[in-house]
């Protein structure tokens, strides 16, 4: 299977995602500005970092509308941490919303400051227990009926999927376990063919 994944590389831990993909033998490239969207790809990853920074750069570098359009056209998208916030339709403790394509309500910095960051292992879907690293992480407070909950930690939702959109509040790219990335690649290969955006 030769899928190609785009990784949004405006700010944050995008290289970590690229490394995970390369461990799976999956080709990837970085999106830093509008012309990078001209390449064809089968899925897009929005990495962890600061949602306020990435959200601002998405708009100023004219990536916002094209990427929003891709998501509504069902291109597979995977958001981790800040990426989850960028996809949320509502953020409970923050007036800002960004791409707002996924029917979830998130809570930003839900575990407090850096002292609240933690590591745990929990079940991800039916794929067994996986390591989960939470860094100043959000969680999902509410989801609509069409959203599938994939993981919870202490009864808070930390991973979910709605059609082509996959989000995790934790950072699967910071541990060696490839389960979540493998799951996303499956979404990319199985449900979407190559496409070119103009």
């Amino acid at each position: 299977m030769s899928v190609r994944i785009a990784v949004l590389a405006l700010q944050g831990a995008f290289i970590e995602h690229e490394k995970m993909l390369s461990k799976l033998g999956i080709a990837s490239f970085e999106i830093r500005q509008k012309k990078d969207l001209l390449h064809s790809f089968d899925g897009l990853i929005i990495p962890g970092g600061e949602s306020s920074v990435q959200g601002k750069l998405l708009k100023e570098l004219e990536l916002f509308e094209p990427i929003r359009k891709l998501i509504t056209e069902k291109v597979p998208i995977f958001g981790t941490c800040a990426g989850l916030l960028l996809l949320s339709k509502q953020i409970e403790n923050d007036g800002r919303v960004y791409l707002a394509t996924m029917d979830i309500t998130a809570v930003r910095n839900a575990y407090g400051r850096q002292l609240g960051s933690f590591y745990t292992a929990e079940s991800f879907g039916t794929m067994g227990k996986i390591p989960m690293t939470f860094i100043r992480a959000p969680y999902i407070k509410d989801v609509s009926d069409s959203v599938v909950i994939l993981a919870t930690v202490n009864s808070k939702i930390v991973a979910a999927r709605q059609g082509n959109q996959l989000v995790t509040a934790f950072h699967p790219e910071l541990n060696d376990d490839l389960t979540v990335h493998r799951y996303f690649i499956k979404i990319c290969g199985g449900e979407q063919l190559n496409r070119i955006i103009d």
């Binding site: 962890g48 920074v53 750069l57 570098l61 400051r113 850096q114 960051s117």
Partner: protein
């Protein structure tokens, strides 16, 4: 400090990569910095240029002032303590700061020992002029490294020197034979396992930012092209004519650091840059503080 906690602290620095950390002295400046795209802010009472101008002993900022900045923004907030001043660090940890900068910009409290950073739960960033200094700080528990530059001058020459030196030493260790690593560890005065890490991965075991003298989008692009994973901008923003515009331009320059056309656009009409002092015109070299 548990192994987990140190990993989590290094992880937070990974989330800051590709970003700009800005010095701010008031909640208002912090809000401007966040709106301009800062990935974190450094809360301090006086920016380095003013510390340099004022002279005298400079210390950790008032916790009340830091808390005001924590309340004003949603991005991580860092604050500085003096080199070796573990009590100041304990206070900063107590107010749940996201990152402590054990900084040469403040007056050193200890002329021999740095803080034992393994005793803390909150992460530390430390300055380094070369690879040996970086690895010594990491051995003490630093979860992030930055160049020392020469704070408050607006002169990028030292940050460039430190980054080039660090990268050159990383290349040397990367290409050294394995039986040479023992002697390199001795020469750099660092543990063998850290040298081995650099040999294997050809990078520092923690995130490495540029700091000191970054004042323009071009300065930021230069530092990223030289191998920095992000930049600290101290006096460069709020000592300039149009802080909002300059801050936003530097943020974009860090993301698209090789696109000269875009950098040219970003460099237009930024108003007056901070005046700056050349390295050789100053009497107090802060970067020499702490080896």
């Amino acid at each position: 400090m548990s192994e987990n906690r140190y990993e989590l602290n290094k992880n937070l620095a990974q989330m800051l990569k590709g970003g700009v950390i800005m010095d701010v002295t008031t909640p208002e400046q912090a809000r401007i910095a966040e709106a301009a795209g800062a990935c974190a802010v450094m809360a301090l009472e006086r920016i380095p240029a003013d510390i340099r101008a004022a002279g005298g002993v400079s210390r950790m900022s008032d916790p009340k002032m830091i808390k005001g900045i924590q309340d004003a923004v949603s991005i991580p907030v860092m604050a500085k303590c003096r080199i070796g001043h573990f009590a100041e660090a304990q206070i900063l940890e107590a107010i749940e700061i996201d990152y402590i900068d054990e900084s040469e910009v403040l007056s050193p409290a200890d002329d021999k020992y740095h803080i034992d950073k393994t005793k803390f739960k909150v992460p530390f960033v430390c300055g380094a002029k070369d690879l040996g200094e970086a690895l010594r700080r990491i051995n003490e528990g630093a979860a992030m490294i930055r160049t020392k530059g020469e704070p408050g001058t607006g002169d990028v020459v030292q940050a460039v020197r430190h980054m080039r030196l660090m990268q050159a030493e990383i290349r040397r260790i990367g290409s050294a034979a394995e039986d040479e690593l023992f002697d390199i560890a001795k020469e750099l005065r660092v543990p063998y396992d850290l040298v081995q890490y650099v040999h294997e991965y050809k990078k520092l075991p923690v995130v490495n930012f540029a700091a000191g003298g970054v004042a323009t989008p071009a300065d930021a692009a230069l530092m990223i092209q030289l191998g920095a994973e992000g930049v600290f901008v101290g006096s460069g923003i709020f000592k300039s004519g149009n802080p909002e515009k300059r801050a936003a331009a530097i943020v974009k320059a860090v993301t698209n650091f090789t696109d000269a056309k875009l950098l040219a656009e970003l460099s237009e009409d930024l108003g007056e840059a901070m005046v700056g002092i050349n390295e050789h015109e100053i009497e107090l070299l802060m970067a020499q503080r702490g080896e």
